[in-house]
């Protein structure tokens, strides 16, 4: 498993919703080895404050050595990151963690909620690339409002996947939760669910899957200091009573291996 600490150059900055940004980074080594569901750790500032790197899922990579992240401004680190300029250099560490275990023989149901959409594009691309035909597969995207998701739709559509949207305010697609669509949709037999999003959403998805006996992989979050298994800070209770470390054993897990408290 190769990992790199790379000085990436900011190639492009896209501002979607008020607080949602997509960065394209020139970052050839990491881009070449990243797998869907893996993440990178980024230094947002140059000084000693903020001190720690921040984790972001790999949103997509290009064969030209580029890597994208899609993020929301929620605090100091992301606020600084939202202010980068084109050609600026930033330090990126990755790829980190265990990504999705894509079952190319099963129809794939990809469910992304909020910023959890970020890794889903990469997974969708990989899925379609490996399967060639992904007409049987389905992408469900949930967001608070239209703005948070519509700019990403083209990228998904281009892959030829079926796409269903839910927004909390009804400004696009189903008015309500993405889990509601999941429950009301007839899923292709033998499918596998891959999901990333808010904890409550993933808990809901995993409950639904469990009830229908559908394999479900979830990508979860945790506070992280190192992202590489060195600090043991990113612990999360596992089903077997032990702690699992999200940066090393995750971020993608079989839903049934985790404890869901919500």
């Amino acid at each position: 498993m190769s990992q790199y600490q790379e000085i990436a150059t900011v190639a492009r900055i896209e501002k979607f919703a008020n607080k949602n940004f997509r960065l394209t980074l020139d970052c050839p080594q990491i881009a070449a080895s990243a797998k869907p569901g893996q993440f990178v750790m980024i230094r947002t500032g140059i000084g000693k404050d903020p001190l720690l790197r921040r984790p972001f899922s790999v949103h997509q990579t290009s064969s030209g050595g580029r890597l994208q992240i899609y993020f929301k401004v929620v605090g100091r680190g992301t606020e600084i990151l939202a202010q980068v300029k084109t050609d600026q250099e930033i330090s990126v560490l990755g790829p980190l963690g265990r990504g999705f275990r894509l079952n190319v023989n099963a129809p794939a149901i990809l469910i992304g909620g909020g910023l959890g959409i970020a890794p889903m594009l990469f997974l969708a691309k990989e899925n379609c690339r490996l399967k060639r035909n992904c007409a049987n597969d389905l992408v469900l995207l949930g967001a608070r409002e239209k703005n948070e998701v519509e700019h990403l739709l083209d990228d998904f559509k281009r892959l030829g996947l079926r796409l269903l949207i839910a927004t909390d305010d009804g400004s696009l697609g189903h008015h309500g939760l993405v889990t509601e669509i999941l429950q009301s949709t007839i899923l292709p037999p033998g499918c596998t669910v891959y999901t990333c999003g808010p904890e409550a959403m993933m808990a809901g998805v995993s409950r639904i899957c469990q009830a229908q006996d559908i394999p479900c992989q979830v990508s979860v979050e945790s506070v992280m200091a190192c992202g590489m298994g060195a600090c043991l800070g990113c612990s999360r209770p596992a089903k077997d009573g032990s702690y699992t470390h999200v940066c090393l054993n995750g971020p993608v897990y079989d839903a049934e291996d985790l404890l869901w408290t919500m």
């Binding site: 990992q3 001190l51 790197r53 200091a225 190192c226 992202g227 590489m228 600090c231 043991l232 209770p237």
Partner: protein, 314 residues
């Protein structure tokens, strides 16, 4: 075990001694911040390290604290990992073989809830191939004495030191807690009890609160503060201790660069440990080695030892 340290006569001599252990350069990784070294193998040249100090090992495996275990603070971080580790037996069978293969001295950080536990871990580590030293973490609460840390009472600190010394032949470093009124009292006590070196500092005790939820940011409520924020406290303690003990002092606390490391050496440290910086820059410790080498060259120092305690006070 003897390491053959290759010396290029054109390069400055970076070797320093920690008791009977000679290390190639004064840079070690701090316990709990470098995993078991393997985590960094893709990202740096592990062979450049003076020594590797591994995550604190207890007699039995420990699960550690519930999350959240870490939170960032201004120029620092709090951790309450809860000393999660696999226990000394699994450490020896699962982790030591790889570490031994590195050909870099491995120092095992140990911790216990009682004197007997410290002794027993030491006994089990005796003779394990690749173990070049023991670092005794005395910041843990002593369960027998109502949870007061061994490290805040000079008598208890000395007792732990003496107990470990009796059971091992490798150099014993004692790692002090900075949460005390007078660090020199503890330092002298462990020196008298036979410590071969004194590591300082461990983390300061701190706390953070999440205002929106009105909850402690850590499940454990309090945690250990590390990173650049604590460097001034660490430097002061190294300075104070180095003046009153004759064993080597190992400086720890907020070291990110060769400049930081050299400042600790001027204050009296024989060597340093890199902690939190490993999380931000996995190459930090290697870069510190390179920077110290470059400094020694630029300043035409025959040996890096010549700057230890070299602070100008006149």
């Amino acid at each position: 075990m003897d390491y053959v340290i290759p010396r290029d006569e054109n390069l400055p001599d970076l070797r320093v001694n920690i008791g009977s252990l000679e290390i190639a350069n004064p840079v070690m990784t701090a316990s709990g911040t470098f995993g078991y070294a393997r985590e960094f193998e893709n990202l740096m040249n592990l062979h450049r390290l003076g020594a590797v100090i591994v995550k604190g090992i207890s007699l039995y495996p420990r699960a550690g604290n519930p999350p959240p275990r870490i939170v960032e603070t201004a120029c620092g971080m709090l951790n309450a990992i809860g000393l999660q580790n696999v226990g000394v037996d699994r450490f020896i069978t699962e982790k030591m073989p790889y570490l031994h293969g590195l050909n870099v001295p491995v120092i095992v950080n140990i911790l216990g809830d009682s004197l007997a536990e410290y002794e027993e871990i030491t006994v089990r580590l005796a003779g394990v191939p690749g173990v070049s030293g023991i670092e005794v973490n005395i910041s843990c609460p002593n369960v027998k004495k109502g949870g007061v840390a061994f490290g805040t009472d000079p008598i208890m600190a000395a007792a732990v030191t003496g107990a470990v010394k009796k059971k091992t032949d490798v150099p014993v470093m004692v790692k002090l807690s900075p949460n005390v009124s007078d660090i020199t009292v503890i330092a002298r006590a462990v020196e008298d009890a036979g410590a071969d070196a004194i590591s300082l500092i461990n983390t300061l005790i701190g706390m953070a609160i999440d205002l929106p939820t009105r909850r402690p940011a850590l499940a454990n409520i309090i945690g250990g503060l590390s990173g650049p924020a604590i460097k001034p406290v660490a430097l002061r303690m190294v300075y104070q201790v180095a003046r009153v003990v004759s064993v080597p002092v190992i400086g720890i606390g907020g070291i990110e660069s060769a400049e930081d490391a050299l400042e600790f050496m001027l204050a009296g440290a024989t060597a340093v440990q890199i902690g939190t910086a490993n999380f931000i820059n996995p190459r930090a410790s290697e870069e510190v080695v390179e920077g110290i080498e470059a400094y020694a060259k630029a300043e035409k120092l025959l040996s890096i030892r010549s700057i230890i305690g070299g602070l100008r006070l006149e």
